[in-house]
Symmetry: C2
Subunit: 220 residues, 2 copies
DNA sequence: ACTCAAACTTGAACACGTTCAAAACAATCA
DNA sequence: TGATTGTTTTGAACGTGTTCAAGTTTGAGT
């Protein structure tokens, strides 16, 4: 049987996520969550040290769903462009219910001190799960990606995914049509761009890009 | 003689910016600003509708300074890589005093509703000024940038600058060494990458990138 | 059944950004 | 000067996220 405490925790989280979706971030006050869940404000804080941690709960749930949906969407898809499209489109799909609230989410997430910060320690698990999606997209593709790129590419694509998410937040076109268009346009371009790596002159530039990435990354 | 009201406005702004630099964003409460400036809280709000607008004051001031310093640094510099470096390094230079406070600034700025949002309406002037720096960096360079790129490049570089600024905010290395390294490494790479535009196979990819950028931009 | 420590829950209180009715001041005209 | 109108200033009050001392409940050991 679920411990009573776990029940309360879930209840608070469920109510919070529901309210985030339905009335937005700012209107979802801690008092409102507590009241709706039938607990005291202090009790909500017993399980979640801050409103940010409730956002993190949302972040984790969305990432988990993305992993599931993306795996399905990647199944049987061969070429890199299509695989990339699948990974990105599903990412947007799972975020869709939260679009209106996206900007508050990003404002929360971008703060290095926030537990939700995708680069931070507290989201290591979620980030790894997300990264794994792109690793799978790269490794499962045929024709295969040039070996020298294979190591760093997933991380770069994940970074690009963060950029797409940022674009999506600002995208006010109906149904975020522009973001879809961006994905559809950019994915094949990335794939084609990578295939240029064989051209000698280009290859050198690629090497230097990777060198720079590694250099900047290591020295922390 | 300066109108009394203008004096009060300046006083509040000066005190706020000084406190932002010296004690950080969160500790600089509206009450503290008012007290330090010797006015009432309500009076500060008479001149600045929100704390965000005080941040905007900072944003504008930093951009103005960047324009001045960058113009000086670009003077006499020929090749694109060096010009790009100059534009970026000076950008980081003027932000330096605010580094500790950078993340709060970004968290404020990234919200579409914020007056400080660099993509938003309220910062059109500051954005244009910033864009002009990169336009000048591109147009003044010799050897000249390929004509077909010249139109869109400044905007893309400005976007990259936003990315560098974001990187800088997260950069905890001493003196933000890693950001400097990133600039020094990336600027020549961009210049070299652009020169590849002559290669036929690469040229097509470039065309498509530009097409995508325009397509996504227009459809808003 | 009783004890007692740990887990859980409460709600009043704090500092914050922000608002606003009212007061003080300034400038203009009769 | 006095009246009137517009500008500037005040500080108490509101709703927010968050804290915490104090209470209540639970469960293992006797």
């Amino acid at each position: 049987m679920a411990a009573k405490s776990e029940q309360t925790r879930q209840l608070v989280a469920d109510v919070a996520l529901k309210m985030f979706r339905e009335v937005g971030f700012e209107k979802t006050t801690m008092r409102a969550i507590a009241q709706e869940a039938g607990v005291s404000v202090g009790n909500a804080y017993y399980y979640f040290a801050s409103k940010d941690e409730l956002v993190q709960e949302l972040y984790i749930q969305v990432q988990d769903e993305h992993a599931v949906v993306a795996a399905k969407a990647l199944d049987g898809v061969q070429d890199l462009a299509s695989r990339l499209k699948a990974a990105l489109h599903t990412g947007i799909d799972v975020m869709e219910p939260y679009h209106q609230f996206g900007s508050d989410f990003i404002a929360t997430a971008i703060r290095p001190s926030s537990p939700v910060n995708p680069f931070g320690k507290a989201s290591t698990a979620a980030r790894e799960a997300s990264l794994a999606i792109f690793r799978s997209a790269v490794e499962g593709s045929s024709p295969a990606v040039a070996k020298k790129l294979r190591g760093d590419l997933p991380e770069l694509l994940w970074l690009a995914y963060m950029g797409v998410a940022l674009f999506w937040v600002y995208d006010q076109s109906e149904g975020q049509r522009r973001t879809r268009k961006l994905i559809d346009g950019a994915a094949p371009l990335v794939a084609r761009g990578l295939s240029l790596a064989k051209i000698p002159g280009v290859s050198k530039v690629f090497d230097d890009v990777l060198g720079l990435v590694r250099n900047v990354k290591e020295d922390s």
